[in-house]
C-alpha cells in the first residue's frame, strides 16, 4: 500500500516536467523581438499607469478567513466519516454536535453580514 505513493511521486515529477518542457520549447521556438513597450503590462492599449499592487477590499480577506475556518473543520469531518459505522452513541452525538456548531458559526456569520456582498 505504501509503495502506491511511488506512483504519485513519479506522476508529480512528470507533471512538473511537462509544463516546464513545453514552456522551454515554446521559448526557444518562438521569435524574440523584445521592446520596452511590448514588455509593459497590458492596459487596454494605453500607457500603463503605476503598479497593480494596491490595497484591496477587506471583504476578500473576510471570505478567505471564513474559507479557512470551514476548510479546517471539513478536514476534521473526513476521519469521522471513515470511522462512522463503528462509532458508539456518544461519539455519534459528538459528531452531530460538531456539525451543529459548524452550522451555528455559519448562521452567526450570516447574521453579522459577513456573507453579504455589496
Amino acid at each position: 500500500m505504501l509503495s502506491q505513493w511511488g506512483f504519485v511521486l513519479m506522476l508529480s515529477a512528470i507533471a512538473v516536467i511537462i509544463p516546464v518542457a513545453a514552456i522551454t520549447l515554446g521559448h526557444f521556438l518562438g521569435p524574440r523581438r523584445p521592446d520596452p513597450i511590448k514588455n509593459q503590462t497590458y492596459e487596454s492599449g494605453v500607457e500603463t499607469v503605476g503598479d497593480a499592487w494596491v490595497q484591496f477590499r477587506a471583504q476578500y480577506y473576510l471570505i478567505g478567513l471564513i474559507f479557512l475556518i470551514f476548510d479546517v473543520e471539513v478536514i476534521f469531518l473526513f476521519p469521522i466519516a471513515i470511522a462512522y459505522q463503528g462509532l458508539s452513541f456518544f461519539s455519534v452525538m459528538a459528531a452531530v454536535t460538531f456539525v451543529l456548531i459548524l452550522m451555528l458559526g455559519l448562521f452567526l456569520e450570516w447574521r453579522k453580514g459577513a456573507l453579504d456582498w455589496n
Binding site: 505513493w5 512528470i14 514552456i23 518562438g30 466519516a81 456573507l115 456582498w117
Partner: protein, 410 residues
C-alpha cells in the same frame, strides 16, 4: 489486483531479480505515470475539439471542420501555432510567482489523475486517502490562479485574482462537503473502494446499478454546481469575463504559457466530471462490468464524456451570474443545505432500522434538498428573465436613447 502489482509480478516471472525490487517498482510506476500523463495531454486536444463543436452547434454554427476528419486536428494546429508564438514576460511582474503559477496550474490538475479509477484494477494508485488527496489538489489550482493574478502586476489580472478568492474558495466548501456524503455512506476514502461499493448484485451477477446518485441526488446536484464554479465554466466564469477583465488572470501569459493555463482548465473540467462519475455515477460499474473487465473503462469514459458534454451544454446556454449573486448562492444556499444533508444522513444512518429503510430516508432528505436548491435557482432565472425583458421593452429608457424630460424647445 491493481495493474501495477500485476505488471511487477509479471517482471518477476520473467526473471527480474527480487533484490532490485525498488528498481522494478520504480520503472513500472514511471512508465505507468508517463503513459497516463501523455494520454491526458492528447485528451486535452480532444476536449477542446468537443467543446468547440458543441458550442458551435448550440450557436447554429458548424465549428472547426477543415483539418482532418470533422476538424479533429484543429486543436493540434492551434497547439503548433501557440508553440511558435513569442514568449513575452512583462518587466514589472513578480518573477517568482509569475513563473511558478503556470507550472502549479498543470501540476494540480495532472496529479488528480493518480486516483481516478478507470476500471477494475485500473487506477494509478489506490490510495487509502483518495478523496482527501483530491481535496488537497483542488487548493493547488486555486493557488496557481491567485499567484498568476498577483504576479502579473496587471490591474485586470489582479481583479481576476480577487475573484478567484471570492469564487473558487467559496465553492470549494460545498464541493468538499458534497464529496463527504458518499464517503460517509461507505466508510472509505479509497476511490476504488467507492467504485466497488456502487455495484448491485442480483444473485451472482453484478448489474452495476447501485450508483450513489440514486441514494444521494442532493449531494450530486450540489457537487455538480460547485464543480461548474470550480472549473470556471460559463454560469460562473467571472474569473475570465471577457467583457470585464479582458482575459482574466492569464492575461499576461503568451504562447505556450497561455496554453498551459488553457490545458489545465479543460482537463480540470473533465477530471471534475470524472470525479463526479466515480463518486456518484457508479465509476466503471455498469451491466456485466464485473464479468467482462474490458467493459469497465468503456462505461467510465462513456459516462465521463456524457458529463463533459452536459457541462458544455450548460456553458452554451446559461447567462453569466453577478459576483454578489454567486457568493450569496454559495454561502447562503449551498453550504447550509449540504450541511443539513450531512447532518440528516448522519442521524438516519444510526437509526436502528433495516438498511433499505435507512436508504429511503436518506433519499427523502436528498430529494428535499434538490427541491430547495432547484427552487432557488428557478426563481433566480425567472427574475433575471423578467429583468432582461423589461430592459428591452419600448417604454424602457434603456435602448431607446430618449431623454427623460423632452426639452420644451427654447
Amino acid at each position: 489486483m491493481n495493474w501495477s502489482d500485476a505488471v511487477i509480478q509479471f517482471q518477476y516471472d520473467l526473471g527480474a531479480p527480487q533484490e532490485l525490487s525498488w528498481l522494478v517498482e520504480g520503472i513500472t510506476y514511471f512508465v505507468g505515470a508517463l503513459i497516463l500523463a501523455m494520454a491526458s495531454l492528447t485528451l486535452a486536444l480532444l476536449l477542446i475539439w468537443i467543446t468547440r463543436k458543441v458550442i458551435s452547434r448550440i450557436q447554429d454554427r458548424i465549428g472547426p471542420n477543415r483539418l482532418g476528419p470533422y476538424g479533429l486536428f484543429q486543436s493540434v494546429a492551434d497547439a503548433m501555432k501557440l508553440l511558435s508564438k513569442e514568449d513575452i514576460k512583462p518587466t514589472s511582474s513578480d518573477t517568482v510567482s509569475y513563473v511558478i503559477a503556470r507550472v502549479l496550474a498543470v501540476l494540480g490538475v495532472l496529479m488528480s489523475l493518480a486516483v481516478i479509477p478507470f476500471g477494475a484494477g485500473l487506477i494509478g494508485a489506490d490510495l487509502s486517502v483518495g478523496v482527501l488527496y483530491l481535496v488537497a489538489l483542488g487548493s493547488i489550482g486555486i493557488m496557481a490562479a491567485l499567484m498568476a493574478g498577483w504576479g502579473s502586476n496587471n490591474k485586470y489580472a489582479l481583479l481576476a485574482g480577487f475573484r478567484v478568492v471570492a469564487q473558487l474558495l467559496s465553492y470549494e466548501i460545498p464541493m468538499v462537503l458534497a464529496m463527504l456524503a458518499p464517503v460517509l455512506l461507505v466508510g472509505t476514502m479509497s476511490m476504488q473502494g467507492l467504485a466497488n461499493a456502487q455495484s448491485l448484485y442480483l444473485g451472482p451477477i453484478n448489474l452495476g446499478f447501485g450508483w450513489f446518485i440514486f441514494v444521494l441526488p442532493g449531494a450530486f446536484l450540489i457537487y455538480m454546481i460547485a464543480a461548474l464554479a470550480e472549473s470556471e465554466q460559463t454560469p460562473f466564469d467571472l474569473l475570465e469575463a471577457e467583457s470585464e477583465l479582458i482575459a482574466g488572470f492569464h492575461i499576461e501569459y503568451s504562447g505556450m504559457k497561455f496554453a498551459m493555463f488553457f490545458l489545465a482548465q479543460f482537463l480540470n473540467s473533465f477530471f471534475l466530471g470524472a470525479i463526479a462519475v466515480s463518486l456518484f455515477l457508479g465509476g466503471w460499474q455498469g451491466p456485466f462490468a464485473g464479468q467482462v473487465p474490458l467493459l469497465g473503462p468503456i462505461y467510465f469514459f462513456a459516462k465521463t464524456f456524457f458529463v463533459y458534454v452536459v457541462i458544455q451544454w450548460i456553458k452554451g446556454t446559461f447567462p453569466r451570474v453577478r459576483v454578489d449573486q454567486m457568493m450569496q448562492f454559495a454561502w447562503k444556499v449551498l453550504v447550509p443545505s449540504v450541511l443539513t444533508l450531512l447532518l440528516a444522513q448522519m442521524i438516519i444512518m444510526k437509526l436502528p432500522l433495516p438498511l433499505w429503510l435507512n436508504a429511503i430516508f436518506v433519499l427523502v432528505a436528498n430529494i428535499v434538498v434538490v427541491v430547495v436548491v432547484l427552487n432557488v435557482l428557478g426563481n433566480y432565472f425567472k427574475r433575471e428573465q423578467v429583468r432582461s425583458k423589461r430592459a428591452f421593452e419600448p417604454t424602457s429608457l434603456i435602448g431607446t436613447m430618449q431623454p427623460v424630460h423632452p426639452s420644451s424647445g427654447d
